[in-house]
Every structure is written in C-alpha cells, then in structure tokens.
Symmetry: C2
Subunit: 282 residues, 2 copies
C-alpha cells in the first residue's frame, strides 16, 4: 500500500509551495529530473494525482491540497520528535515550560514552588516567548508544557488542564478620568479619543489596522500607558506588575480569561504527568 517516506513528503511540500519543479528542485538542492520522478513515484504509489501539470504551470488537485496539509504537520511532527528525543537524552528529568509575558506570574510561581517541593521533581526550565509562540514551541518539540490562555491562544491539538479563570481589566493611566470608575465596559474604553487601545500583533507578526499604538512588549505597553498615551485590556492578574502610574478597572463585559496548562495530546511523559498532577492539586 503506502508508507509515505519523509523524503518524498519534503519534496512534495516544496513543489506544492513553489508550484514550479525547477525552483523547487533548486530549493531542495537537487536537480529537477529526480524531483519530477520522485513526485511521479509518490503519485503512483498512492494511486492519486496530486498535481495538474498542464500548459502554463502546475496546480494542486483537491487530493494534493489534502496531502499538503497533512505533509506539513507530519514533517513538523517529525522534526519535533527528533528534538524531543534529543532533549530527553540531554536531561532525563527536565522539562521546558513555555509561557508568555503577561501570563499569570503568581500562578506560575505557585506551580513551580509546589512542584519543586515534590520528591524527584523534574528540573523545570521556563522559557518566555512571544505572544502566540507557545503553541509553536509545543508543536515543534522545543517545549514540553506551556502556560496558555483561553480564548486567546489556539489550543487545538493539545491536552489542557484549566488552572484559573479571571476577569479582564482595563489598564489606564492613573490620572485619567476613567480610572476613577469602579467598573467599565468595552464600549467605555473603545473610543476615547485621547486614549486609544494598544494593538498586539497577530500570529504572523502583522498588525490589524486601527488607531492604537502598535505594541510588541509588555514594558513598552506599561511605558505608553504611564505616559497617558494608551490603554489596554489584560487579565486581572496583570495588576501584580502595575506601576503607581497605572490604574486597573474591572471590565464587566469582557470575556473571562482562563489560564490553562497545555501539553501535546499524545504525550506520555512521566515528568509532564507529574507536573500536571501538581497543577490539578494546586
């Protein structure tokens, strides 16, 4: 029947991305004829036409699109497997935990303290990464577990354990009139002319159009708010790092944020299991 070789998948993905055999061959560092042949073999083995080569170029068939998606995650998973194996060899009882700036420090600290107190606790290396990077780090095997937040982070494909649900708050300059209010709504802060809501980059690093300043960093944000040039919406635990120039006002209509511990769905690691157990008992 089948058994897709990873070499063939690598070749196919490159051709599917370039839609051009010669360029794909160049990217792969091989000549074009062997590449053509490899793709033909793959098609023959599967009994499926993956690419339509007619005049003026190459196009993916429906089946080709399916295989492209599948092959991408397969290759990523293979690279991840290699990394995880190497990490397991490097330190038998070590874990890498990915989190992001702005996640709940207190909670993480409590988790690490509790886990550290257990017998034969794994040594935990905490990696701070950018806003949507924890998912990537879990997926590509550079991290074993991650602190993530619903509904912000994409949790598809991970196992998760809910740790804490909290309200969101508006972070405002302390001297701004709105800061005196005991609660606010999203509408209240959405269109304040002198206080635009700061904008975070989306997954791909670009910014949605909008008025607020483009932010990529919490300290940047803190600075801007302290200067009275921006507001932001963050989860309530952010209060822990606020300056005296900041004020936090609960938002009544913003969705609640749940901090979760996430790990690859198929993980059978003892160390991960122990950490999760500690987290559940917290």
């Amino acid at each position: 029947m089948d058994t897709l070789e990873t070499r063939e998948l690598r070749y196919f993905v490159t051709v599917a991305e370039e839609l051009h055999f010669s360029r794909a061959a160049e990217r792969l560092g091989i000549a074009q004829p062997p590449l053509s042949r490899a793709i033909q073999q793959l098609e023959r083995r599967l009994g499926v036409t993956l690419l339509d080569r007619d005049r003026r170029g190459v196009a993916l068939t429906d089946a080709g699109r399916v295989l492209l998606d599948e092959a991408r995650v397969l290759l990523d998973s293979a690279a991840a497997a290699a990394r995880r194996t190497q990490r397991a060899a490097a330190g038998p009882n070590r874990l890498t935990l990915a989190t992001k700036a702005g996640a709940n420090h207190e909670l993480l600290r409590r988790l690490l303290d509790a886990h550290g107190a257990e017998p034969d606790a794994a040594e935990i290396e905490v990696v701070l990464c950018g806003m949507g990077d924890q998912a990537r780090m879990l997926r590509d095997g550079r991290a074993d577990v991650a602190f993530m937040q619903r509904p912000f982070d994409a949790l598809a494909g991970f196992d998760t354990e809910e740790l804490l649900t909290e309200q969101q708050v508006a972070i405002l300059p302390a001297e701004h009139p709105l800061a005196a209010r005991s609660s606010l709504t999203l509408a209240d802060i959405a269109d304040v002319p002198d206080l635009p809501v700061a904008r975070w980059p989306s997954q791909d690093g670009t910014y949605e159009p909008g008025r607020g300043p483009e932010i990529h960093d919490l300290s940047q944000l803190a600075q801007l708010i302290a200067l009275g040039h921006a507001s932001a919406v963050l989860c309530a635990s952010s209060r822990s790092w606020l300056w005296s120039a900041h004020a936090a006002v609960p938002l009544t209509d913003a969705p609640h944020v749940t901090t979760v511990l996430a790990w690859p769905a198929h993980s059978r690691s003892q160390a991960v299991a122990r950490l999760v157990k500690t987290a559940v008992d917290l």
Copy 2:
C-alpha cells in the same frame, strides 16, 4: 541535524517492541545486520543512544522511550495522511462520519438533514463503529468527523464542538420495582442482587472484573434488560430506541453526557468546516 526517515522509525519501533534485533528483523522481513546498522545510523544522526545493548538483551533508554511514543504516532499519522489523500481523490466532496451505536440518533439525524439542505453540501457517509473506535478512525484517516461523548471518549488531540448535554438514565426492566421510581441514584442500582449493571468492554476489548453480564452490543443489552437480567446506564436520548419492556429512570447523581462533534485538530478541510458550521447553527 535530523529528518527521521519513516523507514528508520518503522525499524526502530519494531526493535523497541521486540527488544530483540533478530526477531525484529524477521518481523520486518529483512536480515539482522542491516537492521543493526540502520538503528546505529539513527542513533548517530540524532546523537542519542536509544537502546542499551548489554549482556542478556536490549533495553530502551529514556530517550528511546520518548522516541518510541513519538514514532508510533508519527507512523500512524503517516498512514492516516495517505488514506485521507486517497479518500480525497476518490470523492472530492464526501465526508465519512463515525458514530457509535447508542449515540444520539435524533441529533445526528437533525445534523444530517440540516447539512443536506445546504447548497453544495458534502455527501456524508455514516459509519457505525464499536464503542471506542471513533477516535481510532479519526486518527488513522478512515473518518473525517465523529460523533463522540464526553466524558466517555478520549478527545485528546481532536478539535470538538459541543452539541448537546444530557442527563443519564438507568434502563431497567419495566416490571422491576425500581422502574416505578421517578428518579434514582447510582447507589440505588449499583447493588441490586437480581439486576447487575451490564459491563462494556474497555478500549482493548477486555472486560473489567465485575458481576454484570459482558455486553458488546446495544441489541444484546436491550434483550438482556427486557428479560429482566440486567440494568444499564445510558444517556437520556437512549429513550428513543427503548422497547415497551424497558423503563428509563433519571439518575440524579450520574455525570452529564455531552455529545460532541470531533475532527482532527489540524484539519483544514472545507467540507468539515461547513459541517461544523451547520452543527453550530443547529
């Protein structure tokens, strides 16, 4: 660095399962020396010792155990990718939906009706499978979506959409004294001497020890209950197929059951997306 070839992974998994090079080679249909060499190559490429070969046998190292887990899901995923590609080629706008006997018929029917009414709806093939088989069918690419139930089915690694939450009920012979009650608890039915609770097989097909009759089939169960030889705990929608000789009594303390629509987390299929959208709007 790396790029694990699937051939190597296949070899490694077999050796790790047999813990014996010669037997593994036999299972793989090759001679022992090339197998030894392939494993050595894999270890050298990763820079990791996967197997301890000392006197009297072969043992997995920690890293080897990690790679074994990873490799198994990788190989399964590869086989799944091949199947999905072939299915996509066979019928471009077809979906296979896996469900189990005992799942909510009404709900499925409503979903299929609603979806069928949409423009360019996918043709949906419904596959009935055994109790825990939907997860396997999703994982190995024989199904695109599945009807599953929380907390019974393992949903790790899938994306899900909740469809309906319902109470569980005890199914009893109609003439049994307990059948007259308006509600029951799990304790009420747990130890009725003449009415043991039927036992379902677990994932691996074996039965937990216990008193109740071993069941593998809904019609079998229905028969046994009608005869007055067993009781069962099922979700409330099971009422739809009850016989007149059956009675259903709500259980106040059994966990609620949520029927979910599940699909592989990385699926980008348009057809799946449309079906899910229909389900959400239901």
